[in-house]
Amino acid sequence: MLGSGIIKGLAVTAKNFVGSYFVPERMVTEQYPEDRPKLPENYRSFPLLVSETAEDPMGTLRCVACQICEKECPPQCIYIEKSKDKKPDATGKMQLYPVVFAIDTSVCMSCGLCAELCPFDSIKMDQVFEVAATNRFAGLLLNREQLAKSNAYYHSIRPVEAAEVDARLAADRQAAEAKAKAAAAAKAAAAAAKAAAPAAQPAPAPVAEAPKPPSPAA
């Protein structure tokens, strides 16, 4: 009969009307500023630079200015300038560091490729999504001071991933240290052997020096 479909439709909307008071799963909306969305761990917004400590973010940046992210960034929003000198990073290795590291978040499309490709686990994706600024140029162009976030912060937003990264880095560090130790031991052994062989020669320079940090090329 004409109208039966219309009546069925009216019944469904009436059911939804009543349901909207009693069945919370039916609701579409979220009361945003009061109810904060619960972000999944994988959520990504804009990149951040991980530093080992919060106290000296610029001194302990993991970034070594290798410029892989700059090259691979699809919208080309990263700009890096390498340092001329090297300075020790958090583990004491001598590394290059970025003098300028700028990300134009007005261009960034939050794809996360930089974080995926970074071999030093330095660039990661942040989870702040309220990033409005009043100046569309300077307000959205983040420099390295603004981008740097401590490892503790990284742990707070992505606990699982950060733990994995830390474990991996610790393993790498241990391996590197073991290697360095082995190298130093070998060197010392060689030096000792050398010193032992020609006994008449003057005593070698004291071997008190600490194992040198391996050069970045090593």
Partner: protein, 225 residues
């Protein structure tokens, strides 16, 4: 479906005077293609569509490719006899050869009736400047309508016999063909203190004193190109 060279042989037998060449594809996909000569392309396309064994009733994809002129330097070792009677000298002779460029249109054909494919056919223009005409295959497959317009728009191939050959994506007054490899994008950069050095350089040319614009208020370290 019969192999591509069989199709070629059948086409050659059927259309005398037509030249159909097999273009091999070295990649792992090994989708080889047939290069048709523009003079017979439409007849051949019609045949491909209506032949009972092929029934390629569906042209899925039509696209253009730009092959610019290539300058090829060949070095040849030539032995020059010493007129004095000494040992023959071997000198390197460089010959420069310009391989003519062309624009190419590629069509991927499938059969919905027999569910096979793809058969790839391609056509090439004589050059990239003035002889850029190819026959339109829109009368054969209507699906080429927008795609040929797009090729015309972005590559500049003129499809003869297309019912409505206008630009598709760019505006009508636009002059160039942006997908060509030698396309130079217009120099209309707006000043933005972005970290993109290239953009910044080109923007600076338009402003005598760009530093006064937005950077002075910006807290970021000065971005040097």
């Amino acid at each position: 479906m019969e192999a591509l060279d069989q199709i070629r042989d059948r086409l050659l037998a059927r259309f005398s005077g037509a030249s159909v060449a097999l273009v091999t594809n070295p990649g792992p996909a090994a989708e080889h293609s047939l290069l048709l000569d523009p003079a017979h392309a439409r007849e051949i396309a019609l045949f491909l569509r209506d032949d009972s064994a092929l029934q390629l009733d569906y042209c899925s994809n039509a696209t253009g490719i730009d092959w610019p002129e290539k300058e090829i330097v060949e070095t040849k070792k030539v032995s020059v006899l010493d007129p004095a009677g000494g040992p023959a000298k071997i000198t390197e002779e460089k010959t420069k050869r310009v391989e003519p460029g062309c624009l190419e249109a590629v069509y991927h054909l499938y059969s919905m009736a027999l569910r096979h494919g793809p058969v790839v056919i391609r056509m090439r223009t004589a050059n990239r400047s003035d002889k850029v005409n190819l026959p339109s295959l829109t009368p054969v497959w209507r699906s080429c309508d927008f795609q040929e317009r797009e090729i015309f728009d972005l590559y500049g191939i003129v499809f003869d016999g297309h019912p409505d050959l206008r630009r598709l994506l760019m505006w009508d007054e636009f002059k160039d063909h942006p997908m060509r490899k030698d396309y130079v994008d217009p120099d209309d950069f707006e000043w933005e203190p972005t970290p993109h050095a290239g953009v910044l350089d080109r923007a600076k040319m338009h402003y005598s004193a760009p530093a006064t614009l937005a950077v002075s208020a910006a807290p970021q370290p000065e971005v040097k190109p």
